[in-house]
């Protein structure tokens, strides 16, 4: 995988200071994550709320400040770059956010929002060029170019998310980090936006990190999947392999819990309550051990490290599989 990787994240640690009961403590949101993204690849990052998947995306974008680790883009460390160089480099990676209502400035026109990255980087020759680029970008995400003069409140949720995508692709990036881009949308609109992202991937040769809690969508768009739990990747591998033969007990539980539109798979009855532990709980060993059916004494003492498992490039962090 190395050598061909477009983006390589190595041993990323991001933690936040949280004041609780008068004491300041650090919560490790991302606790040693490594991943790589090949040219043209879509990597699905899946996990439940609080697992750190969004923080991984934000750390790559430098919207969160990692304590340690490297983010290598085409062999250049993004975390070490500063000033103009950082700004130029960062145009290569753009982000699409979850909430299309919150991520657009309500007082700016759609056109101004879409043009923002170009304005900051003086990418437009003149105002005609700017208008032309904005209209072309809106058209490429399936929006009527005349929407450029409108304001966000005049648009539907699906249209706003298309604007979010237009803002991301205007500076012709090579990587899109899409953080739950369809979670706020109705299922029929969700399908349209997923199709658009896949279409743009083909047309613009984009690579993508697709962050979502929804294994259905992740399974549809991703070439590879990485499953996160409590700040760490617990399993990663090719999409088909992970979905057909999940190895980590958490991946299995996650897959089993996804509601399928099949009435023969009935939910039987109550099961014991089991939820992720608090992020403040100092845990030794595997973070999933308290919920895990396979947990042994070793799991509570020694944190399992990601290791190669099986023949296909599968990585797994579990002592007992």
């Amino acid at each position: 995988m190395t050598g061909t990787a477009l983006l390589e994240v190595e041993n990323l640690h991001t933690s936040f200071a949280v004041r609780r009961s008068g004491r300041t403590r650090r919560v490790a949101a991302v606790d040693g994550v490594s991943l790589s993204l090949a040219d043209g690849e879509v990597l699905g990052l899946v996990g439940e709320s609080g697992c750190g998947k969004t923080t991984v995306g934000r750390s790559i974008m430098h919207l969160a400040r990692p304590q340690s680790g490297r983010v290598m883009f085409r062999g250049v460390d993004l975390l070490a770059a500063r000033g103009m160089r950082e700004r130029d480099l960062r145009l290569n990676i753009r982000m699409v956010f979850q909430d299309p209502y919150a991520s657009l400035n309500p007082r700016r026109t759609i056109g101004d929002s879409v043009a923002e990255a170009g304005d900051i980087n003086r990418a437009f020759k003149d105002s005609a060029d700017r208008r032309h680029r904005v209209e072309a970008t809106l058209a490429s995400v399936g929006l009527d170019p005349s929407l450029a003069a409108r304001f966000p409140h005049e648009l539907s949720g699906g249209q706003r998310q298309r604007v979010g995508i237009a803002r991301a692709i205007l500076p012709t990036p090579s990587i899109i980090i899409a953080d739950e881009p369809v979670s706020a949308l109705d299922v029929s609109v969700q399908a349209q936006v997923v199709n658009l992202l896949m279409e743009l991937r083909e047309k613009l040769g984009l690579s993508m990190i697709f962050i979502s809690h929804d294994l259905g969508v992740i399974g549809h768009v991703s070439d590879r999947i990485a499953v996160m739990y409590m700040g760490r990747i617990v399993e990663s591998g090719e999409t088909e392999a992970i979905l057909a033969r999940p190895a980590h007990p958490y991946t299995k539980a996650l897959l089993a819990a996804v509601p399928q539109p099949d009435a023969s798979l009935r939910i039987a009855g109550a099961m014991p309550a089991s939820e992720p532990p608090s992020q403040f709980a100092a845990l030794d060993g595997c973070a999933y051990a308290p919920r895990c059916p396979l947990a042994s004494e070793r799991c509570r003492i020694e944190t399992p490290q990601l290791r190669l498992w099986g023949q296909t490039q599968r990585l797994l962090a579990c002592h007992n599989v």
């Binding site: 439940e48 709320s49 539907s156 109705d186 299922v187 029929s188 969700q190 399908a191 349209q192 997923v194 199709n195 896949m198 279409e199 809690h213 294994l215 259905g216 969508v217 399974g219 549809h220 768009v221 991703s222 999409t239 088909e240 979905l243 057909a244 539980a253 996650l254 089993a256 819990a257 996804v258 509601p259 399928q260 539109p261 099949d262 009435a263 023969s264 798979l265 009935r266 939910i267 039987a268 009855g269 109550a270 099961m271 014991p272 309550a273 089991s274 939820e275 992720p276």
Partner: protein, 324 residues
């Protein structure tokens, strides 16, 4: 248990009402779970609020129709009127449990408050009942959790507390409006299992409102699909997912990503749902429907029987097995 007939909810001036729920009828038997499914703005939440007597004032009102619980007419009664009339045996839980809980009061006190609305007990007995309710919703260490504050609980535990409060009235009908939408899938799975167990154990009718076809398939006994204020299809869950008859139901199922088919683009539904207040002639889904013909645009569709207790509001229902 619950019977809703020809319910129409309108907004706007009396003279020119705009129907946001039109002519909705369904019933739920004891121990049965009815899934009411549809996309945002289809009127599913308004239907549930009208059934509960919780429509906001001023605003939407019941223009016609009847809501009966156990044979007693409760149409348009306020919740307090229902309590006084002894017909309050219905309860509701919502999507975001945190906004429904008082952040500065202990869980036990909040459940006790709900208990006191319906039963006059000594303080100790009230507390005992609150503990029982927490055990009923399978909260571990119920004794301990009674003195917890809402912020100390996870989202899943808070939703369990909300369910416990709802059960304080020993309801015959529980309305659950997207109760698991804000939860993680593994926690959602547990809450759905709990609701299934409670409905069977307490012979409680459940109206489960959701946008998620997967949740409906795995939880509901029967399903009603809503579009633009109307119920367009009603069937048992197994019949609906095997033989969806209304083109909208079919289209909704086709939009979902299917495991194992990657790379293909997902089917979509062209166009948008009509805004409430649009004057509709004919079928509301006709402009987006692949099967629509001239008659669909001119005449309101009939409610056709397409199978055993399987109805579709459509002139040309889809036949054959579902694609997935």
């Amino acid at each position: 248990m619950l019977s809703v007939s020809n319910l129409t909810v309108s907004i706007g001036p009396q003279a020119r009402p705009v129907d946001i729920v039109s002519d909705v009828s369904f019933s739920i038997a004891p121990g049965e779970i009815l899934g009411l499914v549809g996309e945002s703005g289809c009127g599913k939440s308004m239907t549930s609020l009208a059934v509960m007597g919780l429509l906001p004032h001023p605003g939407p009102r019941i223009r016609s129709g009847r809501v009966e619980i156990d044979g007693a007419d409760v149409t348009g009664l306020e919740p307090w009127q229902r309590v006084e009339a002894g017909r309050a045996r219905m309860a509701m839980i919502f999507q975001e449990p945190m906004t429904s809980l008082n952040p500065v009061r202990r869980i036990g006190d909040q459940i006790a408050e709900a208990v006191r609305v319906y039963e006059r007990l000594h303080a100790a007995a009230t507390r005992e009942r609150a503990r029982e309710l927490l055990e009923l919703v399978r909260i571990p260490d119920a004794d301990l959790q009674l003195s917890a504050y809402p912020h100390q609980l996870s989202g899943g535990m808070r939703q369990r507390v909300m369910i416990a409060m709802a059960l304080a009235s020993r309801p015959q009908l529980l309305i659950a409006d997207e109760p698991t939408t804000a939860l993680d899938v593994t926690v959602q799975y547990q809450i759905l299992g709990l609701l299934r167990e409670l409905s069977a154990r307490l012979s409680m009718a459940t109206l489960f409102i959701t946008h998620d076809m997967g949740v409906v398939a795995q939880l509901a006994d029967r399903v009603a699909v809503m579009y633009a204020g109307c119920i367009v299809e009603t069937a048992s869950a197994s019949a609906l997912f095997r033989h969806p008859a209304h083109p909208y139901t079919r289209a909704l199922m086709d939009c979902m990503p299917v495991r194992g088919i990657r790379g293909q683009s997902l089917r979509t539904i062209p166009g948008q749902a009509p805004q409430p207040g649009t004057i509709l002639v004919g079928c509301a889904f006709a402009p987006r429907c692949p099967n629509a013909r001239e008659i669909c645009r001119t005449t309101a569709p009939p409610r056709l029987d397409v199978g055993i207790s399987h109805e579709a509001l459509c002139v040309f229902p889809v036949t054959g097995e579902a694609a997935a």
